[in-house]
Symmetry: C2
Subunit: 190 residues, 2 copies
Amino acid sequence: MKLLKDRIVAEGRVIGDSILKVDSFLNHQVDPEFIMELGREIARRYAAEGITRILTVEASGIAVAMAAGLILRVPLVFAKKKKAFTQDAGFYSSEIFSFTRGEAVGIFVSDKYLSSSDTVLIVDDFLAHGEAMRGLVDIVRQAGAKLAGAAIVIEKIFQKGGQTLRSEGVRIDSLAAIAKMGKDGIVFAE
Amino acid sequence: MKLLKDRIVAEGRVIGDSILKVDSFLNHQVDPEFIMELGREIARRYAAEGITRILTVEASGIAVAMAAGLILRVPLVFAKKKKAFTQDAGFYSSEIFSFTRGEAVGIFVSDKYLSSSDTVLIVDDFLAHGEAMRGLVDIVRQAGAKLAGAAIVIEKIFQKGGQTLRSEGVRIDSLAAIAKMGKDGIVFAE
């Protein structure tokens, strides 16, 4: 998606050879109309899949999931990273390792909002090692729901998470896929 | 806002005399078009205030802030609850106590995305004891920005957070204000 790649080049900051910061429009500050463009593209790709629910994980996935949900006219559910005191008894859970935060966290989804009658589109901001995605796929399977696929804003394909998931038959759509990055800049995959 | 009150009555679940769960449309599952209605109402109330940025805190505030940002055509910034390894050096921070989670957490906003030239609208899903709101107001003040006010989806006015902040001169707009709740149901304030 050219609009997205252009913005990553203009505003993204590469730290070392694996960290890309896009805090100016995606995961700290959010540009709402730009995020709606991403949502429109995601909705276009999954328009024929009979999606009934979008699944994401707090916090950075929520804005993009909201945009896609608005266009597809379906609810979104965001997995919570910590079981709040007010959480109900019935939930699906999975454990993921966050490389950003350097720790394992549990993710939780109430069984009220995901069931075997759902066709689910997973939406997230980044796909790198695939830890969060693996947890979300696990939760979809626990619910017995149909997984239509996963739409990712930025995939760092050199970190292999997407490759592994695709080899397991998961459809993954990245709006921008980065083959390589470092001090010389960002190289997008074709 | 009648639409919201009706939905709280229809779908909200009261636990004890102080916990209201609205997980079906606001803070776990999200109904995008309904959230847009809330965003439109918030935007209507602040249309003349020259808002340049919306400030919220991850995670439940993001969808509503996104909706308001879309209508007001301004970016939103969500405060992060934990300083990620990839966070920059320059940030504003405040500490808040989460009654839901039973622990104190720091909230962080990069100084790149909030400055003294901003007129800020704070948006959040709940206002109860006012801890999160106090932290956000603190961050707006650290930035030297002008605080136009705070728009809240549901205020539990019996928990006094709003009362204290209003007495300090903060404008607070609640779309639904709950005077009392318990086993006999929910009583909204006029």
